[in-house]
């Protein structure tokens, strides 16, 4: 038990320590500074820009930037939809996988173009190698880079003084994918291969087991996808069980590197912000505020999973190692809970244990992570959400002291607050209305277990399965309570739509907000200004996040996980 906390603490501390280095590196990449990797990567960046005829000098205002972002994403959506729908006819399909059914393809492609990576298919039976490579892994690079680009543009807007442009979308996208994700993905990929993650084009292997039975073992080009799915807060695994699968995550070292990969860029992004707006104290305040949400959630989750399932303890079984249903021995309960919390606060969504089988409150922890959706949010829309929360906290604090709210010397006025509210309110709206519709359909259908067959578990846990699914779709996350029979037209279309809206509303509204702020003159700070880089503001921000971010989810938390927890005692 004590060892679990040492392992968890070591992993978190190591990630924090290395995040400074990566944060400074990203600042240099986006700020035009020089780095050690330039001789290797700048030629690739230039080649991509030249081949795709991007004019790197062209500056875009927030409208042009958003338009480029949206159109590029539409084109990627159409191209990859075509590939999975025709994969049977395409090369690199040694296991003879068929074409993807249209509603499943709609869901899958919407999921991967939005960086959500919710998976209603299972990789080993649903996708050819060609699709894994040119659809899944390709999108895991460019959509992560899209999130970083949007985030960088917004930060430029905050930092700017009477600024008309936010940068060039394609330049930012190329820099993020080629100079941030590519080198990290290559290094992590090599470590994973060394540890036993396959990378082969040879198809499934047929084995005669020691007892003489036949076993077919699915393989594939696994390592390249696993490394970028972790780094790009994507989360979509090669195999159905994601990083619980021994090929995706074979050893404690691979688990350590993969856990690090989930959080490293989201954490580093905070330091990048500090450098870009030239206020490192502000970055520190934001980072500590995030830690003050993240660490209690980690400790809560780890404690719940290490305590085990009371219903199994009641059978007299030796359960000192915690709740092990859906978990792997090499990771253990503690590191599985750390992963569950980290993957959900950061909008990653990969798993190394089955969340559906976690203890009721242990399963609540990842839901809280996604309801907040802004702690080390990083490359999804998470960090953008944090910036929105900061604007709201500035507004609240300004109202409390009776001054015009300002952030970084800029007045926050009605237009900014409207855009922030739009981005902020969409999230609970999608989750709560979505879950309500699903629960209503289930409750009004006669004999839903036969006709709908959605839920593997009944009672409060069944409600949690539906709640988790909409939460995950709205939070750009992609993990699931996989007992939900989700490959049906209802879930494919409903969550597909939620994913699309929950990606582009929280990107475009903040871009508009950043555009508005960028154009304003930055007034010098005076003694009367609200200082965003103070402990007081950090505490205000923390309170706004917890109260505003969580309170509206209280009723559903009680109906699902908390009711189940009380029933189990």
């Amino acid at each position: 038990m004590g060892a679990e906390y040492v392992a968890v603490g070591f992993t978190v501390l190591f990630t924090i320590a290395t995040s400074f280095v990566v944060g400074r590196y990203m600042f240099k990449v986006f700020g035009g500074g020089r780095t050690l990797l330039d001789p290797l990567l700048v030629p690739i960046e230039r080649l991509v820009l030249r081949l795709s005829r991007v004019d790197p000098e062209r500056q875009q205002d927030w409208r042009q930037y958003s338009l480029s972002l949206l159109i590029s994403n539409v084109v990627m959506w159409v191209a990859t939809f075509a590939i999975v729908s025709l994969q049977k006819l395409l090369p690199l399909n040694p296991d003879g996988i068929g074409n993807m059914e249209p509603t499943l393809a709609f869901n899958t492609i919407s999921s991967f173009t939005t960086n959500t990576n919710l998976q209603h298919y299972s990789g080993e039976t649903g996708l050819s190698y060609f699709s894994q490579i040119f659809v899944i892994t390709f999108l895991q690079f460019v959509t992560a880079a899209t999130g970083v680009a949007a985030c960088v543009a917004i930060i430029r807007g905050l930092a700017g003084n009477r600024l008309a442009s936010l940068g060039n979308f394609y330049v930012d996208l190329t820099r993020a994918s080629v100079r941030v994700f590519l080198p990290l993905a290559l290094v992590v990929g090599v470590v994973l291969i060394w540890q036993g993650t396959p990378v082969t084009f040879e198809g499934a292997v047929h084995v005669t087991t020691l007892e003489g039975a036949a076993q077919v073992i699915a393989r594939g080009v696994v390592a390249p996808e696993v490394s970028i799915k972790q780094l790009g807060t994507n989360g979509g695994g090669y195999f159905g069980p994601n990083s619980a699968h021994p090929y995706e995550n074979p050893t404690p070292l691979s688990n350590f590197v993969e856990t690090w990969s989930i959080a490293i860029i989201p954490m580093a992004m905070v330091w990048t912000l500090g450098y870009m707006v030239r206020r490192r104290r502000l970055a520190l305040v934001i980072f500590l505020t995030m830690l003050a949400v993240y660490l209690p959630l980690v400790i809560f989750g780890v404690a719940q999973e290490c305590r085990g399932n009371p219903a199994i303890a009641a059978l007299g079984v030796e359960q000192s190692t915690g709740s092990m249903e859906g978990k792997e021995v090499r990771h253990g309960a503690g590191l599985s809970a750390l992963w569950a919390v980290t993957t959900t606060v950061t909008s990653n969504g990969s798993v190394n244990a089955m969340h559906d089988s976690m203890t009721p409150l242990g399963g609540l922890a990842p839901m809280i992570g996604m309801w907040l959706n802004n702690i080390f949010g990083g490359v999804g829309v998470g960090f953008i959400n944090m910036l929105i929360f900061i604007i709201v906290a500035v507004f609240v604090a300004g109202m409390m002291v009776g001054r015009t709210p300002e952030f970084l010397g800029k007045k926050v006025e009605a237009r900014e607050m409207k855009l922030a509210s739009l981005a902020l309110l969409w999230h609970p709206l999608a989750i709560l209305v979505g879950t309500a519709i699903a629960a209503w359909v289930w409750a009004t259908m006669a004999d839903p277990g036969t006709h709908l067959a959605w839920l593997k578990n009944s009672g409060p846990h069944g409600f949690s399965e539906m709640l988790y699914e909409f939460t995950s779709a709205a939070a750009n996350n992609g993990s699931g309570f996989e007992g939900l029979g989700d490959n049906t037209p209802f879930w494919n279309i409903a969550t597909g739509l939620v994913m699309l809206l929950s990606r582009y509303i929280p990107i475009v509204a903040p871009l508009a907000l950043a555009g508005a702020l960028a154009a304003k003159p930055a007034a010098p700070e005076t003694v009367g200004s609200l200082r965003a880089d103070s402990a007081t503001f950090g505490f205000t921000l923390w309170a706004v996040i917890v109260i505003l971010g969580l309170l509206m989810f209280m009723p559903v938390a009680v109906l699902g996980p908390i009711a189940e927890h009380l029933a189990l005692q």
Binding site: S72, V207, L210, V221, I312, V329
Partner: protein
């Protein structure tokens, strides 16, 4: 608008080639050059070249001469993997756990308190290659009896195949069941009816 569209199409094609083609080619080549065994899936081959399994992938063991792996929700199907996804309060789940516990107690002749929960719960992917040392200790007397060797001999072999946590605290102490059973066959000879099978 047409210009934007053209730009997006070009960019998509170029990055698809880079991240689909170039990136995969690079990692594939590194795998072939530096870690060929891992790259093909850490397969374990017999002397005649037939594949007997993969080191990190569990297989099903039912014979009394072999250690059993953890329960699998997909019956060790490595082509369609998964966990049970049963919630902690699910009655079917608890019934399955009770059934496994009864079977294990009958088979090994032990009290419930000696059974580690890992041996009555299904793993995440249904392919967990490891069991904790306590689960090996639980099964060792049966292995020794059915193979007609001393318990200490079996325990020695288990100890040889017990892996510590990384750096002493990352991950858990564990035993790879397939490797352990291969070692049993190698050191004590294959079980009676399986003598005709070639050893790896």
């Amino acid at each position: 608008m047409a210009q934007e569209l053209k730009q997006a199409v070009l960019f998509t094609l170029v990055t698809m080639a880079l991240f689909g083609g170039g990136y995969h080619a690079a990692l594939w080549a590194i795998g072939q050059a530096a870690f060929p065994a891992q790259a093909e899936g850490s397969l374990i081959r017999r002397a005649d070249g037939t594949v007997v399994g993969s080191r990190p992938i569990a297989q099903k063991f039912t014979r009394p001469e072999y250690f059993e792996a953890r329960p699998s929700a997909v019956d060790y199907n490595a082509a369609s993997t998964g966990g049970s996804n049963w919630g902690p309060s699910n009655l079917d789940h608890l019934a399955a756990v009770r059934e496994r516990l009864d079977a294990l107690r009958r088979r090994e002749g032990v009290a419930a308190a000696q059974v580690p929960s890992e041996m009555v719960t299904a793993s995440g992917a249904g392919l967990d290659p490891h069991i904790p040392p306590a689960a090996a200790a639980l099964q060792a007397p049966r292995i020794a009896a059915s193979r007609g060797v001393s318990l200490t001999r079996v325990q020695e072999i288990v100890a040889l195949h017990t892996e510590p946590p990384m750096l002493g605290f990352l991950g858990r102490e564990r035993v790879n069941v397939l490797e352990l059973n291969l070692a049993l066959d190698e050191k004590l000879g294959p079980p009676a009816e399986a003598v005709n099978q070639e050893r790896p």
